[in-house]
């Protein structure tokens, strides 16, 4: 008799990912031979298993999406643990918190029926959060985007991403395009004042995509494209570090020990990795200054090789396609826009940072979703995926209701 459960693609994928994580962490544990290394061998696959298998038992969810997200998060923990064990452990804790936040977001989307009362509060809170770095912020890497409150450092723009999606989805579903544009414009203004141009680019792109999806108007799309071009020219002329970024994008070797040092080291690390990589634990990419945040993809290419790097990109592509499928299956306008915005945001952010790493586009200081080090980034990315999962969950419910109705009619 054929065992259909064992051959289900879900079980095969989950078991393969767990095997990957187990063997990779075991290899690192054998290198250091420390108790925490062996703890990670058990802990990370366990978090992956719990987050992938048990969440769909609480409420209907898209298990494939969960599986891919959790794999990327666990890969991030692995890479960070390899480069800096302390950061790896921090990231594992953030991963656990992020999974909890994701569950809350799923519940939020599932059970909130009336969005209107909270939109105004959410918008005001978001603008207040975005203004915090201008008042109490700390400047890092040319951008004043960080705030430390009660000893806890975080990036408000990362958290506001979640609110941006909810607010834009609601306003655009109500055809309040002016309000949606105004909110996004205010956020962009605050981001420009913080000089956080990478995040501003993502906010702008996501808003433009959502407006186009809501209105299907090529006029808005064209105006948005013109606005983006104008903003690019304006940013280039206003900020000196933008000029430097463009210059090192065109020719990173002109100042390879100064402004172009990061990108040059990143390119060297990727080339050193070759097709198969240098081997986990044998990489030499410590020379890259921001190797755990902006250049984590270079670390992956350095240690796992080009082929594995392509697989990571393919996993992001699958994640994007799956998210779009969730958006298209949704029967409600607000949920469709929410899912579309979430998928666009993750895809755009991934493109911007991987493109910057491989010198396809000028480098901007954003994180690689789910993998880069950073609590704010990981938690906000998982929250965004929580919103997406919430929509997927509602879709599953609707299909079940339809099937139940069809069965009831069959009985009748």
């Amino acid at each position: 008799m054929k065992n259909s459960t064992a051959r289900h693609p879900a079980n095969l994928l989950i078991s393969t990912i767990m095997l990957f994580l187990f063997s990779a962490f075991l290899l690192l544990a054998l290198k250091d031979f420390e108790a925490r290394g062996f703890l990670m061998v058990l802990l990370v696959p366990l978090i992956f298993f719990v987050a992938t298998v048990f969440i769909p038992r609480l409420f209907p969810a898209d298990q494939l999406l969960l599986c891919l997200i959790n794999f990327l998060c666990a890969l991030g923990v692995l890479v960070l643990y390899r480069m800096n064990p302390k950061q790896g452990l921090d990231q594992a804790v953030n991963y656990g918190i992020g999974v909890f936040a994701m569950i809350l977001c799923i519940l939020f989307v599932r059970f909130i029926r009336h969005w209107k009362p909270m939109i105004m509060i959410l918008a005001l809170a978001s603008l207040l959060l975005m203004a915090l770095p201008l008042l109490f912020g700390v400047e890092r890497n040319g951008a004043r985007a960080w705030v430390t409150l009660l000893g806890l450092g975080f990036q408000p723009s990362e958290l506001v991403k979640v609110a941006l999606l909810i607010i834009e989805a609601y306003l655009l579903s109500q055809r309040k395009i002016v309000w949606a544009g105004s909110f996004a414009g205010l956020c962009l203004l605050l981001l420009m004042l913080q000089k956080d141009l990478g995040t501003a680019l993502i906010y702008y792109g996501v808003t433009l995509i959502m407006v186009f999806a809501a209105t299907r108007s090529y006029l808005y799309l064209g105006l948005g494209a013109i606005g983006a071009a104008a903003g690019g020219v304006l940013g280039y002329n206003m900020y000196s570090h933008v000029k430097v970024r463009v210059r090192i994008w065109i020719d990173p070797w002109y100042d390879y020990s100064g402004a172009g040092y990061q990108i040059v080291q990143s390119l060297i690390a990727m080339v050193n990795g070759g097709v198969w990589g240098l081997g986990l634990g044998l990489g030499n990419a410590y020379e890259i200054p921001a190797f755990t945040t902006d250049f984590v993809f270079s670390i992956i290419l350095n240690e796992f090789g080009l082929i594995f790097g392509v697989f990571v990109v393919l996993i992001y592509v699958l994640l994007f396609l799956r998210s779009i499928a969730v958006a298209m299956r949704s029967g409600s306008r607000v949920n469709t826009l929410l899912a579309l915005g979430a998928s666009a945001l993750i895809a755009l952010q991934t493109f911007v940072i991987i493109g910057g790493n491989i010198k396809l586009i000028p480098l901007t200081g954003v994180t690689l979703p789910f993998i880069s080090y950073g609590g704010s980034s990981l938690i906000s990315s998982l929250c965004i995926m929580g919103l997406l999962q919430g929509v997927a969950s509602i879709n599953e419910d609707e299909v079940k209701v339809d099937q139940a109705l069809a069965r009831a009619e069959d009985f009748a």
């Binding site: 393969t16 063997s23 990779a24 796992f304 697989f311 009748a412």
Partner: protein, 304 residues
Amino acid sequence: MDCCLRMQTAIFYVSIRLQPCFCCIYDIMDLNGNGGSEERLSADAFELVSLGTRYWFVLLGLIIVLRAARWAWHDHRSYLHTLRSLPDAGYIGEIVNLDTGVTQALPREGVMGSGKACDIRFKGLRRRELLYELREGKGILLTPSHENNQILMEDVPLSRHDYALHGTRLSFPGYSLRMRLFEGFDIPKREVTSMQEDAGYLQSSGDFNLEDYASESSYQQMPMIPPAMASRPTQDQVQQAEDPIGQMTWVYASPPADQQPDIPQLWADASNDDVNEAFIPQAPEAERITESHVRRRRSQRHEK
């Protein structure tokens, strides 16, 4: 000569390549006589293992991508299959053109108009004429896109937004439309009887049970909504209330006898009991609807 040279080169190459391996074996077996003081792998051994696992990780990466893609494809196909077996999925009803009898499926929310992007399209209307959205417990919220419109709901001009229900008639310039819903039956009781009689007619015909769609508690908690038609029933509604079947012009009329398709009456023949049993749905196993059970639209099945 060449052969010897090649062989020597090969042996040299292999020995160089295998050197870490020998070192590893020496380390593991403690043949170097270091006393095994350190439990961790030596750097050479780790290097060897790490170099070997590169291919293992790439292989696992490939399997992960392929399995994820296969799963996505598998799920996409099963979703399409589900959609085929549930043609009403995602729709809340349909809108009938009373002049032509042509129907268009009604999504949960959308836009009516003549534009390409509209969910319900009628030529001759404005590009975006009317926005609609199903509000649970209230009905379909209709919001005209333009203030100076010529939309009539039950012969009353629709100046701002209002709620439509099952059977509500809409008039656009050149079009007379009727809404037929199969969702939203948890709408409050209304004074106008035509809706309830429609529902009663359908209920008595065994097509559906109103109580299945609306629980008692939610039914009682629903606020009373005074829609435009509730206050003063139109002539059409009065006629419909008196003779619901005869006046339901928006229901599909059954075709003349000579045009009706020849449907085999399997159930009339006792020899087909096996076939008939196969089509009786079994409650636990009915999760999966097979290809042969491709369904007709729910609203069309009501007409049988």
